[in-house]
Symmetry: C2
C-alpha cells in the first residue's frame, strides 16, 4: 500500500470516526445489500454491552455481560431484521408490509413503515389482540390492524395465502422474524458483541421464543469466525418457561435447534419464579430494565451456573431482547424499600433514612 | 510520520473501530475527568440522529433531524450528566446519591446508583409523588424514596441543608440536573450532533424545562467551535407551554437565558394542542415515540417555520429528550385507522383493507 493511500485512509477514518454508523453501512460486507439498497435507519443496532459486575457477583458469574437490545428504536432486537427487510422491500418495489404479530414485530414493522412511507398491515387473532399494547403502538404509527377469526395458524396461513395472490392492489412484502432476511439483519448483534469484547464470548444466552435469536446469533458468530475476525464461537444457550408463549405462537425453528446442537449448547426450562427473580435482580443490581421474558436469559444462566453445568468464570453474554414497553410492569416493579415519609427538613429526611 | 507509525495507527484504528465507545472515554478531552475517574457506563449517549424526511416535509422543513435521547439507558438525556456525576462522586469517595425529583432524574440516579452500588435517596413533595411512575422505576432499582411535607422549594432547601451537614452517616453527593457537572456530561449530546452532521446545525430546538438542555447544548457547541472541530454554532430554540411543568419545579436557569441571547435564539410558547399534534405526527410520519413534553421541540419549530421566523430550508435538529416511559400514552396513542375485523382468509383480509 502506498504512503499516500495509507494517509488517505487515515484521514478518512479520522474524519468519520465520530459519526454513529448506520447498521446497514457498518456491516455492509456481511449483509445481502447492493448499491441500490436504500440505507434507511431509525438508529437500530449499536446497542450497549454492559459488564454487569454486581449482578454477576450475585449469580456467581463475574464476567456476566448484558446485551441491551432494549435500546433499539422500538425497544427490541426485531428492529435489526426489520431495517434490512424494509430496505430490500423498498429496493424491490414493495410499497406495503404485512405481518402476523401482536408484539414487537408489529411495533417494529409499523415504525419502519411509517419512516419510509409504506403501508403496514398487522394481522392477529381477535382473541389475542385486545390486551396487546404493542398493537396500540402499531396503530399510533399508522398501521392497519386486522383482527381475524380463528387462531395463530389460521392467521399465518391467511397472510401466506394473501402475499401469494397475483392481483394485489400494491406490491406487498411479508415480514417474518424467523425468515432468512430477518435473520441476516438480526445476526449483526453477534458482530457487535464480538467487537465490544474483542472476541466471541464463551456462552451466549437468549430467551428461546421462536428461535430467531438463537439462529441469528449463531449465524453471526459463524460468519465472523469464517472471516477470521474471531477465533472461537460461543456455546449457545436458550431458555424459556415450560409453557412459553412464543412470538406468533410458532414452534422453535429447526435452525435454532441446529444452532444449539452445533454449538454444543442447550435449550432449558426456567420457572416463572426464576424469571421474576432475575427480572427483579437486573433492576436491583444494575438499574437496567427489560421485558420480563428477556430475563429468562439471566435466570437460565444463574440456574446452569449453580448446577455447575457451565463454567461460571467464563465470559457470558445474556441478551435482553426487548424493553417490554408493552408491559405495564416496565414502568415499575417490586420496590426494595418501604416508601418513607418525612418533614421537609434535613433532620426529617435523615431520620427517615436512618442517617 | 514514519510509515511504520502510520501502519500501526491504521491497525489500531481498525482493531478498535467497531467497539461501542463509552461516553466518558469518547469525549475524555472535553470532560472534567482524570486517570482516577472510574469509567462507568450503562451505555449512555451515542444516541441516533435521524433525518426525519417525512415529518420534515409535513412541517415544511426538509432538513429536519431528530436527536433520539429517548435511547439512553433510562430513556432520557439525564443519563449523560448522571454518568459523569456518579463517576466523579465515586472517585471522591461518595457512597450515596440524593436528588429532588419525581421524574427522569430520579430514575437515572437510581439506575446508576444500582449499577455502582451506591445508596440512592429520592426526595419529593408527598403530593407530587403519588402519580409519578418514574418513582416506581427508582424504587424498583433500589432507591429510597422520601415523601416530604411541603412543596418543591422546601424539598430543595431540605436536601441542600442535608448535604451540607458535617456529621452524615456516609459521604453523599447531591445530583442536580442544572448543576455544572451535570451540564458537563449533558453537553456531549451537542458533540454527537456535530459528528453526525459533519458540522453544527443551523438551529437546535429543545423543550425548555429547567433550562438544562439549552445550557448544555450551547456549551457543547461552543467548546467544539473553540476546538476548531466546527466552524459555526446553531441558533438555540427553546419551547414550552405557557404553564409548563418543569423538572424540580424550578425557574429557567440564567445560563439558559444567556444561551438563548448569545445564540440569537428564542424561547417561545407552544400550546398543548400544538404539542399533541407534533407528538402524533412524530409517530405517524417517522414511527418514533417520545415523552409528549419532548414533542414541544417539533411543535415549536413547526410554529416558527410557518411564521417565517426561521429558515425552513436550514439544518434543524429537534431534541427528543425523553422516552416518556413514565407516560402510559408512550405505549399507545391516537390510532390512524379504525380497527378492522375479518375472516382468517386472504380474501377476508383483502376485503378488510380494501385490496
Amino acid at each position: 500500500m502506498r504512503m499516500s493511500e495509507v494517509l488517505r485512509q487515515l484521514r478518512q477514518q479520522q474524519a468519520t470516526a465520530g459519526a454513529r454508523p448506520r447498521l446497514l453501512e457498518r456491516f455492509e460486507s456481511f449483509l445481502p445489500t447492493d448499491d441500490a439498497t436504500p440505507l434507511i435507519s431509525l438508529g437500530e443496532g449499536f446497542t450497549p454491552l454492559i459488564h454487569a459486575r454486581r449482578l454477576g457477583r450475585a449469580i456467581g458469574c463475574p464476567l456476566l455481560h448484558l446485551k441491551m437490545e432494549t435500546q433499539n428504536p422500538t425497544g427490541s432486537s426485531k428492529d435489526r431484521g426489520m431495517v434490512l427487510v424494509v430496505a430490500r422491500a423498498l429496493e424491490e418495489g414493495s410499497r406495503a408490509l404485512i405481518c402476523v404479530s401482536t408484539g414487537s414485530t408489529a411495533a417494529s414493522a409499523a415504525a419502519y413503515g411509517a419512516h419510509t412511507g409504506m403501508e403496514v398491515i398487522v394481522v392477529a387473532p381477535r382473541a389475542d389482540i385486545a390486551a396487546a399494547t404493542s398493537i396500540l403502538r402499531a396503530e399510533a404509527a399508522g398501521a392497519h390492524v386486522v383482527a381475524v377469526d380463528g387462531g395463530w395458524a389460521d392467521a399465518h396461513a391467511a397472510v401466506a395465502d394473501l402475499v401469494a395472490a397475483p392481483d394485489l392492489a400494491r406490491p406487498v412484502r411479508r415480514v417474518d422474524p424467523v425468515g432468512p432476511l430477518s435473520i441476516e439483519g438480526q445476526k449483526t448483534a453477534a458482530f457487535e458483541v464480538c467487537e465490544d469484547l474483542g472476541g466471541a464470548p464463551d456462552h451466549l444466552a437468549v430467551p428461546v421464543d421462536d428461535g430467531a435469536d438463537l439462529t441469528a446469533y449463531w449465524q453471526g458468530f459463524g460468519e465472523y469466525r469464517a472471516a477470521r475476525l474471531v477465533e472461537t464461537v460461543p456455546v449457545m444457550l436458550g431458555f424459556q418457561t415450560a409453557t412459553a408463549d412464543r412470538t406468533g405462537h410458532r414452534p422453535i425453528s429447526e435452525r435454532a435447534i441446529r444452532a444449539r446442537d452445533d454449538s454444543g449448547g442447550r435449550i432449558d426450562a426456567v420457572t416463572e419464579e426464576q424469571i421474576a427473580s432475575a427480572y427483579r435482580d437486573i433492576r436491583r443490581h444494575e438499574g437496567l430494565s427489560c421485558d420480563p421474558r428477556s430475563a429468562a436469559s439471566v435466570a437460565g444462566v444463574r440456574k446452569l451456573a449453580s448446577q455447575g453445568a457451565i463454567d461460571p468464570g467464563g465470559t457470558i453474554v445474556c441478551v435482553l431482547t426487548g424493553h417490554g414497553l408493552a408491559d405495564p410492569e416496565a414502568a415499575g416493579g417490586e420496590s426494595a424499600h418501604p416508601r418513607l415519609e418525612a418533614a421537609a427538613t434535613a433532620t426529617g429526611i435523615r431520620r427517615a433514612v436512618g442517617w
